[in-house]
Symmetry: C2
Subunit: 291 residues, 2 copies
């Protein structure tokens, strides 16, 4: 199961972080871009170099679909190539596409992102729960068949995530708590050897109190924690989202790593990204050790 | 504004229905597919023939992104070509992709689907509200700039839509009602000459009672009504989702139209689709007249 592989890869690297390839063409250094025939080719060259440079440091890659869709069909081809290259190098790959639709359509999405012959095949896919279980079940079905996993949005990292997610239900609990209970339930019979389920959750690192409460509430649910770095969450903020052994979660960081070279014009982008990834690893380790 | 154009196009055709191009390669007759170099080319040929055959009958096309993503980058190219062809023929085009993400990423999605230079540029895009307003605002921003519109998921047509959407909030009202209020509010300053806002809503035709309540609650919100035909809703079920003049909503139908030829092996697919589209138009007219 990919959820076990993810847990082990994090342990081996001693680094619970995911490299977010939310790559815009503007991030690619001019010297690299000018040698490429198209924007998607330049983004692919940039991604490949980062993947190669960070493979000993980071266990997991998160590819944000939106930035590839923005470049059209050529961008989608770039995304497929990036995913394939990352898997070939041994990274665990999360495709962050936040898909969600009615059953028949969710099956098509699962066929696009999780099925054995999927054109954009990730080890994990992010999924939006708003449509309820029949919109999630086709993904769970493929997870059962292939060992893949999903991260279901529970509490997101953005400033207005509370607008609906924090709305109190009649029982006095916020809406996201109800989603959390269902996510735990959906994953009950997909718990791997390492104690976590293939049905995992997205929990924003920007909401430390809610994250810690959810950690206690969902003992078998692995967390993807966006919001670190550019979105404002610090390592200290997300310590409570990890279990007692320092496992059960992974922190996604994109701009802070892939745009690190923009802060120091003399550094090549791979070295700058490596330095930032190592700094982040150290910061996370310190906080997790110090609890 | 596209919302005014949609209202007028429906009135001119006397037909509040949208052709759902949720095209799977399995739907394409073998005789057509065998002449095409690839599956996406076959789907495009099928879509084009339907667009050409139905242009006098149906005012609007809904393209479901999932079925194109399933075919990989070539499928995305097929989607782009289908959208362009439909717009060129004068259809109002809804891209049904149900996107939703944090602000920066939602901007990239809007750049992919709504911006002037978007590679998959629709007149409307469907949007998932789970992340709250900062995940919706980038789409609204592009709507203001280009005259495009969005359909925000309020109450979806699938069997388990109630799992979260019908959950009662502390004030005794279901969750989707709170989403409905926000959708009305987000669209307040984007109301066109025909009385409807560019910020529109998806309301499942399979839930007639809720649909009628939402119609009363959201007087300036145009509704996209999925669930007719293959999903089980009848014309009578959705009558309450229209306003007193028989406007303010459009009914999406896909499989019932584009797979009509599979029920009658002797009919060519365009004729079969025309016949079903005309039958649906007649059924909707009768129900709307008879209220």
């Amino acid at each position: 199961m990919q959820i076990d592989r993810l847990t082990r890869a994090i342990r081996e690297r001693g680094n619970p972080s995911a490299l977010g390839l939310d790559t815009r063409i503007e991030y690619v250094p001019e010297s690299l871009a000018k040698g490429c025939p198209s924007a998607p080719d330049a983004v692919y060259a940039f991604n490949s170099a980062l993947l190669e440079g960070l493979r000993e440091i980071v266990p997991c890659v998160k590819v944000q679909s939106a930035y590839y869709e923005l470049m059209g069909p050529g961008g989608m081809s770039c995304m497929a190539r990036t995913i394939d290259e990352a898997r070939r190098m041994g990274y665990v790959v999360i495709v962050d596409a936040k898909r969600g639709d009615i059953g028949a359509t969710a099956s098509a999405y699962s066929g696009a992102f999780l099925a054995p012959d999927a054109p954009f095949r990730g080890d994990f896919l992010t999924v939006n729960p708003y449509l309820g279980y029949d919109g999630v079940e086709p993904f769970v079905y493929d997870c059962k068949g292939t060992g893949a996993g999903i991260f279901v949005l529970v509490k997101t990292s953005n400033p207005s995530s509370g607008e609906f997610q924090d709305l109190l239900a009649a029982d006095g609990r916020p809406f996201y708590d109800h989603v959390a209970d269902k996510v735990s339930q959906w994953g009950e019979d997909l718990i791997g050897d390492e104690g976590y389920s293939a049905v995992a959750a997205v929990v924003g690192a920007t909401y430390p109190k809610q994250g810690a409460e959810l950690r206690a509430r969902m003992p078998h649910t692995f967390f993807l924690l966006p919001g670190y770095g550019a979105q404002g969450a610090s390592a200290r903020d997300l310590a409570g989202c990890f279990d007692k052994k320092g496992g059960g979660a992974i922190v996604a960081a994109s701009r802070s790593i892939i745009c690190a070279h923009q802060k120091n014009k003399n550094a090549d982008f791979v070295s700058a990204a490596r330095r930032e990834a190592l700094r982040m690893k150290e910061e996370l380790s310190e906080v997790l050790r110090g609890r």
